[in-house]
């Protein structure tokens, strides 16, 4: 992301999408769970079950720049797979195991983590091994 864009600009872009995003929230509220059984929402993304995958942060939904959130970086279980660059979370694709925890914990109104297929990358890793 270009450094020339200010937080306010980013935020102004962001705002227009909130309508959509908060409606997904509205659906959620019907199945809201209490403390003991709180489960974060999970977007299926475009990956079918069992397929190797990798996380990608969708900058336009990420609230690291407006709310100083870095939950995904904090909770990533793989050392080095997620880093903070200029206070923005970034996935290091070569380390990402595709576990999806970052997607599970993302608290943005519209989940900012997308899981995408990573067949090609995994093959190349296997060859290296």
């Amino acid at each position: 992301m270009s450094r020339a864009i200010s937080r306010r600009d980013l935020f102004e872009r962001f705002i227009g999408r909130l309508r959509i995003s908060t409606q997904s929230e509205a659906k959620l509220s019907k199945t809201n769970e209490s403390v003991s059984a709180a489960k974060p929402h999970r977007f299926a993304g475009n990956v079918s079950k069992g397929e190797p995958r990798v996380a990608v942060i969708q900058g336009r939904f990420c609230i690291a720049l407006t709310s100083f959130c870095t939950v995904c970086v904090e909770r990533c279980p793989v050392p080095g797979a997620m880093v903070k660059r200029q206070n923005l979370p970034q996935v290091v694709a070569d380390c990402c195991t595709g576990c999806g925890i970052c997607q599970e914990v993302c608290p943005a109104p519209r989940n900012a983590v997308l899981m995408i297929p990573s067949k090609k990358r995994l093959r190349s890793v296997e060859q290296d091994v």
């Binding site: 937080r7 509205a26 769970e33 720049l65 870095t70």
Partner: protein
């Protein structure tokens, strides 16, 4: 789809750009304030329910339910932006365990009863011992709710035992403002963040606690403006990541740092001599700490500051002398605008009043005050700590509008405005929070003369310090009775004898006042669940019951009910009957009555209807010649404040010394009450995290937030951890002289504590850090210190349960 990775990224970037263009087209529609839209969603405005920033949100309602939340673009505070809590604020209403019916404890079990029975039970308790009844309220009370409770207690029961949780949160800021300016609340406002060159955060983790305000400042840097951020802190936080200078100091030594700055201003002759001579007097404490202390001369002040050389300050605080000199130089410059902010780091401090005074002092001494960008400003944590607790005066020594219980003429004035007989208000101040709970938890035959406490909109069972002493003590005292009005079961309702279900946020009309003197209003948008009802209604219903039973205090001078309400035709509306409560706008009626109190200290509020139109207005709001109402951004400054004498540049018109001057205080560095020693070698600090709001009652029920930070933890330095064989995620036991707590360790996580320090957040009701905090109160403000006590830590044995056996903690962090 088998796109190569690079191609894929290019495609998604393009998609993003298209989406950006598409949504710009829709901007004007989004700007219309209360438009109803074709998808069946009705939009209306409200301030966010959470912190003291006072962001405005647009609330979307469909089929009687809040279904969407947006940042309000028309709001000056947040300009459409929200933080992660704000985006999900609507879900706070819909946790599945909402309280929906009154519950009375019978044989140890809470059982449903009717509202009529509940009101009778409260009336019985009060009638039996009106002077042994106490009301414990909140900075989350709406303004009308707090006003009703305050009037009920002080004008009705002649009982001053009413105090809010705000005592635990900002009362040191209040005593700071009062002892410096003679009147409470900041002179500046959030506009200072847009204008300052240097922002100094004094123990203030703004990125997490006031993210929207922090983004307002950081945004300027991103736009290329040259601004400097200085983070004075006891641990590296997310805020520190953005700071130009991170000055780590030893807990409690902020007193020495502030004095070090004053020392340099005096020594280098860079203080603002003209400003000081014209607008300031000097002050120090009497031998017993008191609000107004005693006068001292400038020469005495200079001599007192002599001791605080940069080297001495380095020795006390651990901050390098060169960095103290840097601060001294910055304050010495006239060409810079400097804003200081603070929050709980200053206020929850056993010398909280003093550190507040010292910070105001260096701003006054250097003349960095009263111009946009030059301001010492305290930030509040609750949405209406200012609006309700401080302005309405729901503290045990205050009356509305800045009046004092102890002052005869203030009481007479309030009695007149309330139309009650002279002498109705008890001249003796009531019990402050810590004393109130101490008395409640002490057996009646041993001086515990509070027998019944009614708690509204707060959770003392989690937020009081030293819980075993100040809250759990109630458990075995059969004659004590705890009434709790809340929206969810909490650590407080666990010990309650009577639980009342309350309406929350947009389930009722309301008004809040934020940190920058901004009063905000909203209307009820959805029905509360089950039998949940407004807190103000609950107070009025009890008052009416007492009136019917002949309690003389529930009548005014003319024999009318204290909360008598008439419709426009003059006919009395029985608002104590829930069926009729919303026949009129009770909020508006209570607010208009309260408004008459506000002019005394020049905190003028506008009529209710002005707030309906606005996204909040900053007081004093003064009517103009053309009939319009104008807010005030910069108090005491001639260019903006209508109460400053014509032609004067500054006028501190509520001056303690009655000469329009502010006071510059001297206060020494003193050691903390309980410092680390051999047995307890660590400092233990407590606080909050971005995702959770205070005791987590609301945010822990929002899946996105509880999923992000699911439980409490303890932060420890990696070397301290290594010495004890502790790895991240391990269960550890943190022990203080008050008890111990078992919880997971988090090393090099979000924040990084220095060696010899621990930090535990207090949001988790399963891991109550306040069971082990000390909470030694400031002698003037009576606000407890949650930030410092001595502790020890060790790895927990696998079989060890500690005090958390009642909860299942999965150590998700790592």
């Amino acid at each position: 789809m088998n796109l190569p990775r690079r191609e894929f990224l290019k495609t998604s970037a393009l998609a993003a750009a298209t989406a950006f263009v598409a949504q710009r087209v829709g901007v004007s529609a989004a700007l219309s304030p209360t438009a109803s839209e074709s998808d069946g969603i009705q939009w209306d405005k409200a301030p966010c329910r959470f912190c003291g920033t006072g962001c405005h949100v647009r609330v979307g309602v469909r089929d009687g339910k809040v279904v969407a939340i947006q940042g309000e673009q028309l709001a000056e505070v947040n300009k459409g932006l929200l933080c992660v809590k704000g985006y999900h604020v609507g879900l706070a209403l819909y946790g599945k365990d909402r309280l929906t019916t009154p519950l009375l404890r019978k044989n140890g079990k809470l059982e449903p009863i009717s509202w009529d029975e509940a009101i009778e039970v409260i009336a019985d308790r009060i009638m039996a011992a009106p002077d042994k009844f106490a009301f414990y309220g909140s900075g989350q009370w709406t303004i009308p709710e707090g006003y009703a409770a305050n009037k009920f207690m002080k004008a009705g029961l002649s009982n001053n035992h009413i105090d809010p949780n705000a005592r635990l949160c900002m009362s040191s800021a209040v005593t700071g403002y009062l002892s410096v300016y003679g009147v409470d609340e900041p002179a500046g406002c959030y506009d200072d963040f847009d204008k300052c060159d240097v922002l100094i955060l004094w123990g203030n983790n703004m990125a997490e606690m006031h993210p929207v305000l922090f983004s307002r400042f950081i945004d300027r840097r991103m736009r290329g403006e040259k601004v400097m951020l200085i983070d004075l802190t006891t641990r590296r936080t997310r805020t520190s990541d953005f700071a130009d200078e991170v000055l780590l100091f030893k807990p409690h030594s902020d007193l020495a740092i502030a004095n070090g700055i004053a020392h340099l201003l005096l020594k280098n002759g860079t203080y603002d001599k003209a400003f000081v001579e014209k607008h300031c007097n000097f002050r120090k404490d009497t031998s017993e700490p008191s609000l107004n202390g005693q006068a001292m001369s400038f020469e005495e002040y200079r001599a007192a500051m002599e001791h605080y050389t940069p080297e001495e300050v380095e020795r006390i605080s651990g901050v390098p002398a060169a960095k103290i000199r840097l601060l001294g130089e910055l304050f010495g410059r006239r060409d810079l605008r400097i804003t200081s902010t603070w929050c709980m780091g200053f206020n929850q401090h056993s010398r909280g009043t003093n550190i507040n005074r010292l910070c105001h002092g260096i701003h006054l001494l250097s003349g960095h005050i009263g111009r946009p960008g030059d301001a010492p400003t305290s930030l509040t944590g609750q949405p209406s700590a200012c609006g309700t607790a401080r302005e309405v005066g729901t503290l045990c020594h205050f009356l509305p509008g800045g009046r004092l219980v102890a002052k005869a003429e203030d009481r007479a004035d309030a009695e007149k405005l309330w139309n009650v007989p002279a002498g109705r208000i008890n001249p003796k101040i009531g019990y402050h929070t810590v004393l109130l709970w101490e008395k409640f938890c002490t057996p009646s035959d041993k001086g515990g003369d509070i027998q019944t406490v009614w708690v509204q909109v707060t959770n003392p069972g989690q937020s009081l310090p030293n819980l075993h002493k100040l809250f759990r003590g109630k458990k075995n005292l059969a004659d004590k009775f705890l009434i709790v009005s809340d929206v969810y079961p909490t650590a407080t309702t666990e010990l309650a004898d009577l639980v009342l279900p309350s309406a929350l946020w947009v389930e009722k009309n309301g008004m809040f006042g934020n940190s920058e003197r901004r009063t905000q209003q909203w209307f009820k948008m959805v029905e509360p669940p089950g039998q949940a009802r407004d807190d103000a209604w609950q107070t009025i219903a009890v008052a009416r019951k007492l009136f019917e039973r002949g309690h003389p205090g529930m009548k005014d001078k003319d024999g009318r009910f204290l909360f008598a309400v008439s419709d426009p035709s003059g006919k009395e509306v029985p608002v104590w009957d829930w069926e009729h409560y919303y026949n009129v706008n009770v909020d508006k009626i209570l607010f208009e009555e309260y408004r008459t109190f506000t002019r005394y200290k020049h905190k003028d509020l506008a009529p209710y209807d002005e707030y309906v139109k606005a996204r909040g207005l900053r007081w004093p709001v003064v009517q103009q010649a053309d009939g319009s109402w104008r807010e005030t951004k910069f108090r005491f400054s001639g260019f903006d404040d209508p109460y400053v004498r014509k032609g004067a540049e500054f006028q501190f018109y509520h001056s303690v010394t009655k000469d329009d001057r502010a006071l510059i205080w001297f206060a020494p560095y003193e050691k903390a009450t309980e410092e680390p020693d051999e047995e307890y070698p660590f400092w233990l600090c407590t606080g909050r995290v971005l995702e959770h709001w205070h005791t987590g009652t609301l945010t822990m029920r929002i899946p996105q937030l509880s999923g992000s930070v699911p439980h409490a933890y303890v932060e420890i330095h990696p070397e301290d951890a290594a010495e004890r064989g502790i790895r991240s995620g391990d269960s550890v036991i943190v022990k203080t002289r008050r008890g111990e707590l078992k919880l997971p360790a988090w090393i090099n996580g979000r924040a990084k504590v220095p060696r010899g320090s621990l930090f535990i957040p207090f949001f988790d009701e399963r891991l109550l850090v306040n069971e082990i905090t000390l909470g030694d109160p400031d002698p003037i403000s009576k606000e407890p210190d949650y930030k410092k006590c001595a502790a020890t830590i060790r790895k927990a044995a696998p079989s060890e349960h500690g005090s958390v056996s009642r909860s299942e903690i999965n150590s998700a962090n790592g």
